[in-house]
Symmetry: D2
Subunit: 368 residues, 4 copies
């Protein structure tokens, strides 16, 4: 019998590391979605898609604009290089497509703002930035506990993003376009701070940043300095209403990926992944007790990415708000960029109560 | 475009608790399989299926034999009540269908053996008993380590199956048909013992049982005694070649499901789930540090059930041996039944080297 | 100023591995006790004592009977080889000394009983068998929770004693005198079962053993078979009032000492050392996350031994009951010996409600 | 027989919470030391001492200067209120006594420096500030691993000191004299940073502070603001040679004391107490799995305080360097005070390569 279920017609743009995964999630793990098209400018990625997507009925495109015209297409998942996230998202919105865009919207605040403004002009189009960590089961449980008041008022948030060291030099090359460690890695932690610090109002109002400061070192990759980047960063973000978030990011965690977060409220603390592990196995050997941890962020967050695809699909099909508010995603870029600036200048950066950045030397910057 | 992928045409028999889940796994989470049909004799289950399966193109049947005739059907997942597992499996095999049968094959050894014999007469038909625990990522990692020699020779295995207490009396009603706690719960642990104790020969040869003994109490449900069953059981199984497995099962674990296994080899120990948890979240509250554990076996083993469906599908499509050998599944029933007998009689039960059970009172006990 | 505190005048008998530690505990870590004398028949141990005890004012003896006559001596800690525990304890009691005797009282039930009978004839003399595990902070907390009803009725107890493998052959030589793995190692676990299963009556009444069965293998030390011993043992003890204890012991745990216990009650479980570690340090290295565990029982239970000395001293000075009741220590030997017998005979051993052992073949053994 | 062992003749000054503990440690748990005298100006504390110290031969004094004249006195443990630490330490040094002084030397840098200068003029006198955490077994293991190169170069250190919330208002009253949360709590974490960041040179050279910045909130105790203090503080300390330490302190951790530290090197990370617990017990109850953590710093660090007393005693008797170098203890005060200043001013505070503080407004900031 032919299925009678309406499924969201989705295309994925970009079939690199993360794009290929998104394609698989929409193709095989999102029952209410149907992957109908995919775009990549890269012949190698198209080769991969011919083997893994085309046989399942997915139409392949080498031009993004062509793909947008795919008949019946309803939504696009933008998973290309960060530098074109915003451009493709804007085009897709303007073509009337719903968009799930990989984080960050852009490494630049102005451009992120343009995405937001475009979306605001298309109120019926769902636009969501893919902060995958929010869809992880442990973070979701933590959020529900925080929201229900289990820990009193969330006051301090500590969060870290630590990648396994990759000795190939990849991180150096990547630093040219990544926006730097605070925009690339800690953007997740910043988003978590915005999420948890607005848990008591159900996300209705974002906390207002007051100041940021950042520090960093190049412990293993001195060449990162060329791009004003570091391989270990520490940042602190202070909010106007008595909340503080502090972050750590690293490109040199030896056993693998160790992302963790503590949300500290006035009556309790929620700790996500303080005690990392890949699963439930420990080896008791002559050299002691051993366990493994995920080797990369996808091993850690695979389930979250799948859940993200499902919740985005549900939001579109059922016309509900997307679970990650776009204003917060722009705010995360603002804070990430400010941290990166602080890292480079060595200065503490201040914001007024309206969210406008004011230089330490006193005058308000009219336009960032 | 129409997909060009060949997908295994699967039906699920039985749409109760576990059957409904299997149906969902084949429908939405097994890319190379297509759920085409489903059978249930129960109007409530058919009602559920009309809502959740039919719209996706699944044909519903209220007669098992009719379902077997579904055009193009290649494989059946048998997930009905334990009492009809064997009958349906045999029918399906004889109709030329590959079968994934929920555990146990039967609560009776003779009937399990009939399944095995039927399968033996159809060597091109894949028949697998669904010992889901083998498909759990942590158990798979443990097995690979054991197989590669990381812990020397697997010598002692400790394994437990502990369910959350259900005060509704469900366990008492269920005991009539379940075969008893050793056949219903510890069958998994027995299967793990057979699996790990044959890891050094790659599963080519099962370890030979030498004796079993079992004990039990009815701590919370005295009515279980009516069915010769208990709510807490302890059993020991000795093998002829210097290996011992010991088991615990319980129907009264307060926080939830806690199934765990330790495989102790001559140079190391693998410990699966010694430190249970649902995820990576801990709450630090005034009352101490808290974490949750899964509330039932499906919360614990959901991923394993999905993986089981995938591996069964691959074995059929690619004509590879199924990952759970049927002879071992019969042996597991033999050992489970013997444990249950020992529980009831209070006797230690012995087996000769050919696997024949010899009574303690002397009969047929030529030479141990 | 001269101290005005009355301190218990203690002697230690035997200055081997454990005796030397007891001497140090009474000398330096038991404020209300004063180590005044020590005995060893071994010149090497006397050599050690000349360096470590004599300078602190401890008088050394090479004859046990001479030491008993030491002026003002009030109490003796018997820490010699197991074979002379009972003889020295009896002599010391008869000389009017309070006794803390290392476990087990004897590897023979009759002799343990003689110690008990002697103590019973000297009701003002405190006699305690040193089941150190009872003084460990985690076990004490568990007991207090069990006693207060936190887990309902203690019903199942699982406990293990696992030593680090010692490739020197020490365990083989030791097996000649140790009484076997169940009497030497699991005696602790048996004692814990007696302790926790009488928690609901405050220790007033010991649970009554109904049957025992044991299994074992020689995985690394086949020569143990000469002494009817094994390097891995599994035993089950059933009690008349619906309680079951099951034990594991091993001489081949690669990372070190792993002794653990679970006390399972009708409404909760207490788990001691499911997740072993030496302290609070973990290393995150390229090979994964690692931690160490104690290398031997003294590393694990050092604090318990000190606490044992303190509580024994307090019981004597304040004329309170000793915290480990002697009747239970005899019962532990009875159960341990029965397990060892079951291991050797392959038979399940039964006891009647009066605690008398009855052979499987029917007749009651008049005198064990 | 009379002991022939030479024991260090020690007095304790101050018998409050911590002083009474030090007295007990020197009296009962430091074999090579003899507590001969104790001083307190407080009648209640003297009352306590009459019961607990005097009977053991300890002479009590109500005048510090009188106590210093106690015949044969060799060493003083200064455990009075922080405000008189320095004064008493200086007096004791000048009277030729070795000194173990509780942390911090002072809440003021100048006064800490005076202690250092006095000690420098008495090179044969041992003076040590009691940074107890360094004597904890887990920290000692971590240090030995770091020193031996197991984690490459220590680069980032994260450390926190979190007290259980005390609703009595104690923390507010205490804030008047404590120097603030960074000087009172994080001083330990600062000391750890200095210790671990000089591990690669064996402590020969302290890392040079480059800048500090601090943030804080009063989440539960707004009255702390009167004293320029907070109940939650976050601080970052940057060093000139590419190392960063970041700290958190809190007065509101609900389950108890949670002090933890991560030392992140170029090839590994050492994690101390990421997974806090009081011992090896977990309760599996209907509400989940639970464990307790220490209720205060003494429960957490009791063993470390005892070890501190022992190592100080050994250093004096064997004329070895004290294990905590005094220069570092002054440096810790300098950094703690700067963090407290940054908290109050909202400014980042800079230091030149000679360790001189330079104001952000430009003064003395010749060349950074």
């Amino acid at each position: 019998m032919a299925p009678q279920i309406r499924r969201l017609q989705v295309a994925v743009s970009g079939l690199g590391r993360m794009g290929a995964r998104h394609a698989n999630h929409f193709l095989h793990r999102t029952p209410r979605a149907e992957l109908v098209a995919a775009f990549s400018p890269d012949p190698k990625e198209i080769e991969w898609a011919k083997e893994h997507l085309e046989p399942w009925g997915v139409k392949l495109y080498t031009e993004f604009d062509e793909m947008l015209k795919h008949e019946g297409l309803e939504a696009v998942c933008v998973a290309t290089a960060t530098t074109v996230h915003a451009e493709q998202t804007i085009k897709a919105i303007e073509a009337g497509k719903h968009v799930l865009c990989e984080k960050p919207l852009s490494t630049k605040l102005e451009i992120s703002q343009q995405v937001f403004d475009t979306a605001a002009r298309h109120p019926h189009t769902k636009v969501m930035c893919g902060f995958s960590r929010r869809f992880d089961a442990s973070y979701l449980s933590a959020y529900n506990l925080a929201r229900s008041g289990s820990i009193g008022r969330p006051t301090i948030l500590r969060s870290q993003t630590c990648d396994k060291y990759d000795p190939s030099g990849f991180f150096v090359a990547y630093a040219q376009f990544s926006g730097g460690i605070f925009v690339d890695c800690n953007i997740h932690d910043i988003d978590l701070a915005l999420w948890f610090f607005s848990a008591d109002n159900g996300g209705a109002q974002l906390p207002k940043v007051k100041s940021v400061v950042a520090f960093g070192v190049t412990a293993l990759e001195p060449d990162l300095a060329k791009y004003g980047d570091v391989d270990n960063g520490v940042g602190v973000v202070e909010f106007w209403d008595g909340q503080i978030a502090y972050f750590y990011s690293s490109r040199m965690n030896p056993p693998g990926q160790h992302d963790m977060t503590e949300i500290i409220g006035t009556t309790g603390k929620l700790s996500v992944n303080a005690n990392p592990t890949t699963g439930l196995l420990e080896s008791h050997l002559a050299t002691g007790i051993h366990r493994d941890i995920p080797q990369n962020y996808y091993e850690r967050f695979e389930g979250a990415f799948v859940e993200e695809a499902r919740q985005f699909t549900d939001a579109v099909l059922d016309d509900k708000p997307v679970p990650v508010d776009l204003a917060g995603s722009v705010e995360a870029v603002k804070i990430g960029v400010a941290l990166q600036d602080s890292l480079r200048s060595g200065k503490k950066i201040l914001f007024d109560r309206d969210g406008k950045r004011v230089d330490e030397d006193g005058f308000a910057r009219a336009k960032l």
